[in-house]
Structure formats: C-alpha cells, structure tokens
C-alpha cells in the first residue's frame, strides 16, 4: 500500500476469494471510513477472483460512495476483466491500465477553470426575431 497525496493505492492479493477478502479488508476497511476516501486497487496480482472478491469490490465501492469518495481499479488482467464483465459489474468501475493513471484521474479540477461561457443563444430573443429573407 502507498499513498499519493489523498489517494491510496492498494494491491489486491493473488487469491481474491473468501479467505483473501477477509485478510485484505482488515487493511482496507479503516481507509474507507475516512472522509472522501480515494482508493485505487491495483489488480495486477490477481490470479483467482470469485464471487466473494466481486462482492468485496462492490461493498468497498458502496462504502466509498457513501462518504463522497471513489474506488477505481487498475491493471485488471483479461481473466479478471472477463469475470467482472460476466457479472456486469465492470461498468460500475473506472478502470485504468496502470495505478498511476488511476491516481491521476483523482485530480480535482478547479470549478471556475472549466465553466463554459454563457451559451451564445442565452441573450434572449425568440421566434419573433426570425425574419423571412426570401
């Protein structure tokens, strides 16, 4: 486990089954109980993923969302991706090729920097202003 600013990166164990989940959650649970937890789970080591592992991912995501945080996945192997897709949970997560990309995605944007300027049509007018030209 390591941190980059507010983001915590954790490597998931090789065996993400019932036993592996219990051990892993002891470490992860306190992190999820902080305010706005930002967690990237590095899936590169996963060799075995079963329903207990998927349930853990969903529970962790739910916990993070409850506290206005987020949980993202990185380096998901093709085999794990198939399982996540099969269980239709892949679309719930943002998935990145590397943990670093996942960390960067947590970058908070300054709200003012991205505000779209007033749309060009917003100044008023309407059908009455349209005129028949020909």
């Amino acid at each position: 486990m390591y941190t980059r600013g507010p983001v915590v990166v954790m490597e998931l164990p090789e065996q993400l089954n019932k036993a592996g989940v219990r051990f892993f959650m002891e470490e992860l649970q306190p992190l999820l109980e902080t305010d706005r937890p930002c967690v990237v789970l590095d899936c590169s080591q996963i060799q075995h993923l079963d329903s207990a592992g998927v349930e853990m991912l969903l529970n962790c995501l739910g916990e993070a969302m409850k506290r206005d945080g987020d949980l993202k996945l990185a380096a998901v192997s093709p085999a794990s991706a198939v399982i996540l897709e099969l269980m239709r949970v892949d679309r719930l997560f943002e998935v990145f090729e590397t943990a670093d990309e996942g960390v960067r995605s947590f970058q908070i944007f300054a709200p003012a920097a991205n505000v779209q300027s007033q749309p060009w049509y917003a100044a008023g007018g309407g059908l009455a202003e349209l005129k028949i030209a020909s």
Binding site: R91, P111, E129
Partner: protein, 354 residues
C-alpha cells in the same frame, strides 16, 4: 479583413430503418446538426468557431425545418438567423449582401459536417490560391465547408459551393484535423464519444466536477446515483437514486433517468425520460424512440412508464371538464398523476406484445 460566414440548415427529418430494414421511421423531427451533443448542437459549435475569428455569421434555416425549442432564442453580436424558403438563392443573396457591406470573403458551411480546421489558415490558403471557391476535403472525401469570394460567387453554382460538383475554378484544401459528418443518429453517438474522450478540441458544456464527469447547470444527481467517467449530465437533467451512467454516456438537457436505471455507452437526447430499473446500452434514445446501435433498429415504445418525452407530457396533457367548461392546462400535480398506459409496445411497425 472582415470575414463572413453562412451556415445553412436544410429541412429534413432524421429517419432510420425499421426491423426489416426497408421502411424508414422518423427518429428525430429536427436535423441532426441542431440536436444537442454533450450540451451543445453542432451548429452552435460551428458558430462559435466562426465567431472566434470575428466573422459576421448568418444562419440560414430552410423553411419547414423543425428546430428544438432551445435552439430558437438566438441573439449574439454578429450572429443572425433567418428562415428562408430556398437555401440556394438565399446563400447567393447573402453573399451579395456581404459584398455590398464590404465583406470580401465568406465561409459557407452546410451544417451536416463539422470540421475543426484552422479557419484563418483556410482563408489564407484561399486568398493565395486566387480562385473564386476553395473547397475542403478530408480523407473520406469532400466536405461541405468552403470559402468564396463574395463578389464573384454569383457565377458559382450551388453544387460547387456545397462540394458536390467538380470545378476548374476552385482550389482544394485538405483538412487533417477532426471532422464529424452527421448523416445518421449513430454519428451523434460517435461525436459524443469523441468529445468525451477528448479526441476533438470542442469540449462538453458545463463544469467538470471531477476527472471526466461534466455536469451542466441545474442538473440534479442523487447522492446514490453513480456516474462513471467519462460522462455528461445536461442542463436541468435529473439522475435519480441508484441510477448508473457509464461508459461515455451523455444525458442531454431536461432528461430524467429514473431510479436504478443503467445508461451505458448511450446518448439520451433532450427531453427524454427513462423509466425505472431499465438497462439501456449502446443506443440513442429520443422521447419514446430508441435506436439500438448494435442491431441498427429503431424501437418505438408506447409505454410512457418506460420511455417518454418530457416535452410531450407538458404540452399534450389537457384536462377537459365533463361539464363542458373550457379546457385548462394540467397543473404540475396533474402531470405527476399516472397517465393512461398505452395498450401495446411496438417494435418498428410490428406488434410484438399486447
């Protein structure tokens, strides 16, 4: 040098094949270029490009074109909209008008294609080429953007201006930057995906609240809803509890995604309500019509609890008194009351469920 620009919008509705692939359905009443894509229509984005180079912009809309209500209120310096009965003669008239105002050169853009080229570079190329018309091309062929000499354009045919005809008196400018052609609703989806992926310069409207999530004004997202980046939620739209918006999906203005519904790799066009606990993937939804991009069919759903137009509900619900009093518009509370459920679902024109 003062530049002009003419953006032409012709009257045509958007049709799609039915399940048999033969007949066509009206998927959208308005032209694709006037439909919002990630917050703004293609026409708006085009006009912004022209306004950015201080061009005087005239938008010519062919009479009979159905425009979204949000498109109509137009007023900006140097931008005028005119409804015309014949686009060809209106363009010629407009170029003549520009010439009399002292505007020597004008861009002409049929609004069904969008190109992110450097307009000033295109203009300089045209001036150096010393031709009446400079037409643009990309790797897929001619584009409907050109530059003309206003004074000499009278003698040029509409076909040459629109890029449909070859001409000896024109030069060619190749565009290597991003180009989008809108010919089918699936092109709207492609454009939305490209914008959300950042493949083009034009961006989503609204505010990026976190990486890849854009939220526009007055949008409401329930605390328990999940947005997976990149995604866009448009002006005044509501995403209710336990809904999931994921994989480059865009929810345009004044839509409602009801509880538990999943929107995946889809575009929900303005004023569309999607009911509860549905799973909408790889599609474009508009009012009660759903285009499935994988199967390339349009499904018209007559059950308003599944899909409906918000605009239709507000405009069409009229309460008529049994005592013969004047009809009155429904109040908000009336609109919330359950409406009569339509008898059938329709799949194209074929009845599939009673």
């Amino acid at each position: 040098v003062q530049l002009g620009a003419v953006v032409a919008i012709d009257a045509r509705s958007v049709t799609s094949s039915d399940a048999a692939g033969k007949q066509s359905h009206v998927m959208l009443a308005e032209p694709l270029e006037c439909v919002d894509v990630v917050g703004r229509s293609l026409v708006e984005r085009m006009i912004e490009h022209f306004v950015a180079i201080d061009a005087v912009v005239s938008v010519l809309v062919e009479a009979g074109t159905s425009l979204p209500a949000s498109f109509l209120p137009v007023a900006q310096k140097n931008v005028t909209i005119e409804v015309v009965s014949d686009l060809g003669s209106a363009i010629t008239y407009k170029l003549d008008d520009y010439a009399r105002q002292g505007i020597e050169y004008s861009f002409i853009n049929w609004a069904n294609a969008y190109a992110e080229t450097d307009l000033l570079d295109l203009f300089c190329f045209h001036r150096e080429a010393r031709q009446t018309v400079t037409r643009t091309f990309d790797k897929e062929g001619p584009l409907s953007l050109c530059v003309v000499d206003c004074a000499n354009a009278q003698s040029t045919s509409l076909g040459e201006l629109s890029g449909d005809a070859e001409s000896n008196g024109s030069s060619k400018y190749f565009i290597r930057e991003y180009v989008a052609r809108l010919a089918h609703p699936r092109d709207l989806r492609q454009l939305a995906t490209d914008i959300l992926r950042g493949r083009c310069q034009t961006g989503p409207s609204g505010r990026q609240i976190r990486s890849g999530i854009w939220i526009d004004e007055r949008a409401e997202i329930h605390r328990r809803a999940r947005l997976v980046a990149p995604a866009y939620i448009g002006r005044g739209s509501k995403v209710k509890a336990d809904a999931l918006v994921t994989r480059f999906s865009s929810i345009e203005r004044d839509c409602c995604i009801d509880c538990g519904t999943v929107i995946e790799d889809s575009s929900i066009l303005p004023n569309t309500s999607i009911g509860i606990w549905l799973d909408l993937c790889h599609g474009v939804a508009s009012a009660n019509k759903l285009l499935n991009l994988e199967r390339d069919v349009v499904v018209e759903i007559s059950d308003p609890s599944i899909m409906r137009s918000n605009a239709d509900v507000r405009q069409s619900v009229v309460i008529v008194s049994e005592r013969g009093e004047e009809p009155k518009k429904a109040a908000d509370s009336d609109l919330r009351a359950p409406r009569q459920i339509a008898d059938t679902w329709r799949f194209g024109d074929t009845l599939i469920q009673e």
